[in-house]
């Protein structure tokens, strides 16, 4: 197995999971990540010399993901050539998390996914998103606040009191 294969095997699922959380469609996430790896392979002679080639792939994948037009074009191109794959229905937890994430502004959602799913430190997220660390921290705080209303149902006693 060469370096490219090793990087693909090690990171494809992880990157796809991040983009899946970001825009809520697994197949589209998979297509976008596959496209990012295609672009890496086309420039592999150069990309392979980087300290961390996967960081380049991650950046390309996210750039594709946050552009609706480019994402739609990539997904449509792959859909024309591949059969859809059927997977089991999502669990309630997954639906709840995806729904909650969708309530976040796009930049807050991206920072949250990079923090909790890509396990990137705040400084690295700031570099990737081209903002300051303080901005990322602020986005994460506000994201947690928003998510609180979506993932934490009201305690039963307070709900009853409201209806009583």
């Amino acid at each position: 197995m060469d370096d490219f294969d090793a990087m693909y095997a090690a990171h494809f699922a992880s990157l796809t999971t991040q983009l899946f959380a970001y825009f809520g469609d697994r197949q589209e996430a998979q297509d976008v990540v596959q496209e990012a790896f295609c672009r890496a392979w086309m420039r592999w002679r150069r990309v392979s010399t980087y300290d961390e080639p996967v960081a380049w792939v991650r950046r390309v994948a996210w750039n594709l993901a946050i552009s609706n037009v480019r994402r739609a074009r990539v997904a449509a191109a792959f859909r024309r050539r591949h059969q859809p794959v059927h997977v089991p229905p999502p669990t309630a937890d997954r639906v709840a998390l995806l729904t909650a994430l969708k309530a976040l502004p796009a930049r807050h959602r991206q920072a949250t996914v990079l923090y909790y799913l890509a396990d990137l430190p705040v400084e690295e997220i700031a570099t990737l998103m081209e903002v300051s660390s303080g901005t990322v921290k602020s986005w994460l705080y506000r994201a947690r606040t928003t998510l609180a209303g979506k993932l934490n149902p009201d305690p039963p006693d307070r709900t009853e009191a409201r209806h009583g």
């Binding site: 697994r26 392979w41 937890d93 799913l117 998510l147 609180a148």
Partner: protein, 206 residues
């Protein structure tokens, strides 16, 4: 209701999501990446070849229009048999004492609409081999110019003008993939149509 989700609770929700989502991810594979990139390069190479061919045709038309005293209609034409004889003669010159695969043809109005696959029909492995250099040679007898365009396995492509009545044109290329055929297409200018015979061959080094 809490103002924020406790960090460990949120982290746990993402951990559950990650575990579930990863099970459903079905990577197409690194081989699919390579296949897709090969396909794109091949499409791009074909597009470039087509653009070169169109440019060649445009230049030929422009040249013809700029030289009214040499309009093709004023030049004598040949019979198909005469042109085939010229082509056969050219082919003999090209393939004398070498291991070569190719073809010879009369240059007619249909020539530019045809693509000729040259198969490696020699000894095993019966395919053009990645990384091995080959010479494309072409010789045209008669009048005018014929642009030879080739596409080798792995998206290697190129083109060269061959002056009819001129010397052998020789171009070296190296396939980037194994493959059974090299596609050749010919674009004659107006003066060459019905006035020339051409031979094209791929020479294999022993």
């Amino acid at each position: 209701m809490a103002d924020t989700v406790p960090d460990d609770q949120l982290a746990e929700a993402f951990t559950r999501f990650r575990a579930e989502a990863r099970e459903q991810v079905q990577p197409p594979g690194a081989h699919a990446v390579r296949h897709e990139v090969r396909r794109r390069r091949s499409v791009r190479a074909a597009g470039t070849a087509a653009a070169v061919t169109l440019l060649g045709a445009a230049v030929a038309i422009g040249t013809t229009m700029a030289s009214p005293d040499q309009t093709p209609s004023t030049l004598p034409t040949m019979s198909t048999t005469q042109m085939q004889e010229l082509a056969a003669d050219a082919y003999d010159v090209l393939t004398k004492d070498v291991s070569a695969f190719g073809y010879a043809t009369a240059v007619t109005a249909q020539t530019q609409a045809e693509t000729h696959p040259i198969a490696h029909s020699g000894s095993s492995p019966l395919r053009w081999v990645q990384g091995q250099p080959y010479d494309l040679v072409a010789l045209c007898r008669g009048r005018g110019t014929v642009t030879v365009t080739w596409q080798a396995p792995g998206g290697v492509t190129g083109s060269a003008p061959v002056t009819c009545g001129g010397d052998v044109v020789r171009v070296r290329f190296t396939p980037r993939a194994d493959g059974p055929v090299i596609e050749i297409s010919l674009t004659p200018d107006a003066r060459a149509i019905n006035r020339a015979g051409i031979a094209v061959a791929i020479i294999e080094f022993s």
